[in-house]
Structure formats: C-alpha cells, structure tokens
Point group: none
Chain length 208, copies 2
DNA sequence: CCTCCACCTGTCCATCGGTCCAATAGGCAC
DNA sequence: GTGCCTATTGGACCGATGGACAGGTGGAGG
C-alpha cells in the first residue's frame, strides 16, 4: 500500500529481505537522488552511509517518515538517528515481519525502537525525573495554558510551523502566542526563551 | 479484534469518542476491578485518577499495553506516564482515528507520544548519555577555537550581530563559523545548538 | 446585556538566520 | 614549494521570525 524507499550503500545484500516485506520498494543511493521522495511515505536509510545523519534530516524534512537501519545497531547510533528525525531504528537485516510491524507503528505516528533502547529511554527519563529538578513553574504560571503549550513546544527546538501542526492551529497563531510569551517573560526571541525556562538545568535568574 | 479497556473517573463524557474507535470496549473505574484485565491487550488510563500512576504500573505489570490519556496533556505528566510503564500518551479527547492509530502503533511494538514530548524524550536521553563526559568534551573538541567562541556566545542568547561586535568580526564571519558548527554538531539552528550544548554549559568566555 | 479575556486568524513588512556561490591570507607540515 | 587548515569577508538568496495593525469567536462574570 505505502511506498517504500530504501537508501543505502550496498542495498544488494539486503534487498532480498526488504523485497520480502515490500515487493514494490524503491532502492536508491542517496536521498537527493529522488525528486519524488516526498511521494514516498516511508524512507529507510542505512547507517553505512558516511552522511546518513544528514540524509535522515533531509528526508524527514520533506515530511516523509524515516526509519534508520543499521548493520551494527547500538544505542548511541539509535539516539542519533532519532535526533536526526528518524521515527524508527532497527537492524538492517531484520525479518520481513519485523519490518512490516515497524512500518505499521511509525506510519501510525508512533516511534519504534528496539526493546533495549526503549528500556534505556524510559530508564533514563525516570532517572531524570527522580533527579528532582524542580520545574520552574513560577515563570509558567504567568502564561495561559495555550501559551504554555506553545512555549514548551518551542523550547524543545520546534519551529513555528511544527508547533502549528502539532497544536493544529495556524502558524500565525503560534506567532501571536509567542509574542505574548516573549513579552510576559521579558525575552526577545525563542532562544532566550529556552534559556529562561531553563529546561535543562541552567537556571537563568533575572527578575524575582 | 483487540480488546480495549478504558479506565477513568468519568468515562461518560469521553465514552462516545472511544466507542467510535472501539465499539466493544470495556469501561472501568479501576485497574484492579477487572480480574481478567490480562485478557485485554490495550489498557487506556486517564490521568484524572488520583492514583493513575499506580494504575498504569499495575496494568502494565500484567503484560498489557498501556496508554495514558490526559485531559490536559503536558510533557511532565507524559514523562511520568512513560516512566510508569505506559507505551503511549495523548489527549483524552483525541479523535477515533488518532486513537486507532495509537493502538496500532503501540500494538506493533512502538511507542506513541506527541511530537514535542518525543523531542524532549530524545533530547533528555541523549543529554543524559552525554553526561558521561567523553562525548560532550568531544563535541567541543571537534570545533576550532574560534568556532567554539562563536558557539558559546550564541548559546547565551546573543544574536549574530552581537557576537560579531563582541568578537570584533563581521556578522558574515559569524554566520560562516556558525554554519560549520551546525554541520559539525549535527544541528539545524541556534536553538538546537543551545539545547545540545546546554547541559554542558560550564564556562562561557567570549574574549573581551 | 455588556465587558473582559483567552483564543484564533489575516495581511503586511523589516529583519534575522542559514546557506550557496565564491575569494584572500596566514600558519604549518611534508 | 605545495597542500591543508583556519580565519576572514563579500554578495546574493530565501525561508523563518517577530512585530504592527486589525480584526473574528466564545465563555465567564459584573
């Protein structure tokens, strides 16, 4: 049903397994070699490319769902793939069945990572939480719920367009909310907002 | 096909949407009120319960796939849901279509969270991994002294113009350095650069 | 009813930010 | 010398961003 594009150095060795899962897939050497890449709803990129990270970024920028494939999967690389915009990460030699499950998951808006990486993610997140870093809610209290949502989305690195999509509002509205947020918190742009809200650990003390 | 169990305080107000997605779902007040909860392969728990976290833990302990539902979704709560064992987290009033997508994703072994939360999770994990000192130092080590200066200045919230002034170079040169920094660190803009270097932030020294 | 507020949207516009096309010049290694 | 890295700058291009101005809705409360 969906159009699958596989990008990698030596797709030949793996083509068989992939074709078993997706009979009518497309093989390519690079993401930019396909002008109609946006037509593909699932792009699989093998991490044996020297610039696989950039490939993932460009591919995901087109709106396609990207999955990272590795011949030697490890957590570090998996995280980098996710950071680059991949929605999935698994072994390049996975069985057809697994491939189909993954594509089902990611095409449904999900994130697919192996059990170990998933456990790592959850465990790390809990560790983070138990760290007991107090969310500086004092600043957020001055914001309306919607403004808070926009602000929180922005400080994760989202663009106005992305925030608009995820909140299902116009980009213009995002700007409006952001403008109010900037004024309320006394910052001039999104970067200073991120520093002000100190989502990491760096508390920026100013007023109060 | 799959058996859906919804657990929440006032499922009535949301029951309609849920039934639209899953005609033969089961509503419950508590997780332990169903002895056959293990039969259910998807359990949806609304976070308006006082002990929703414990509910998620017990439900996921039975092996069921748990999804957290919130009437007022936020990242903090989402993280806690994941920590408790949920495989998904979304708005309690999501459309039937979204609900089905989510269940498809999580039943396929995936994890479903909103875009911002996903970004937050990925960043949290990668930041945590970088805490182990070798990677973060290597991050800055990959930069030339000048690039480091520019990057450090930028992550404090300075504009290109300001950086140019403080380093006594042209704004054009700042852009050039920044471009290299972005590529080396695999980020797309200054905000993501700040997020990436944020947890590493120790000494910010711009020659002056 | 009327007002205040949160929320949402539009158009226009100045600027900023990031990238692509370059080029020049010093330092250092082989 | 020849090559490589670093630092610097120019110009042009275009998308992203933030502000100004000008509205729309609906709900809560006087």
């Amino acid at each position: 049903m969906s159009r699958q594009v596989f990008i990698g150095h030596r797709p030949d060795s793996m083509a068989a397994r992939w074709r078993a899962a997706f009979p009518d897939l497309v093989l390519a050497e690079r993401a930019d070699s396909l002008d109609d890449l946006s037509d593909a709803d699932s792009v699989w990129i093998v991490t044996d490319l020297p610039d696989w990270k950039a490939q993932i970024e460009t591919a995901s920028a087109t709106g396609a769902t990207v999955v990272g494939l590795s011949l030697n999967p490890n957590q570090e690389e998996g995280l980098q793939a996710l950071e680059a915009g991949a929605r999935g990460y698994l072994h390049a030699l996975a069985t057809a069945e697994v491939l189909q499950q993954v594509v089902t998951a990611v095409r449904s808006g999900g994130l697919w990572v192996g059990p170990e990486l998933l456990r790592l993610v959850v465990r790390t997140v809990s560790a983070r939480l138990s760290d007991g870093r107090p969310p500086n809610s004092s600043l957020l209290d001055s914001l309306t719920p919607r403004e808070r949502q926009v602000a929180m989305a922005v400080v994760t690195g989202a663009s106005n367009k992305e925030v608009a999509r995820s909140l299902d509002i116009t980009e213009r509205t995002v700007k409006a909310h952001l403008g109010v947020v900037f004024e309320k918190l006394g910052v001039r742009d999104r970067l200073q907002l991120a520093l002000r809200l100190g989502n990491t650990q760096t508390e920026v003390e100013t007023t109060q």
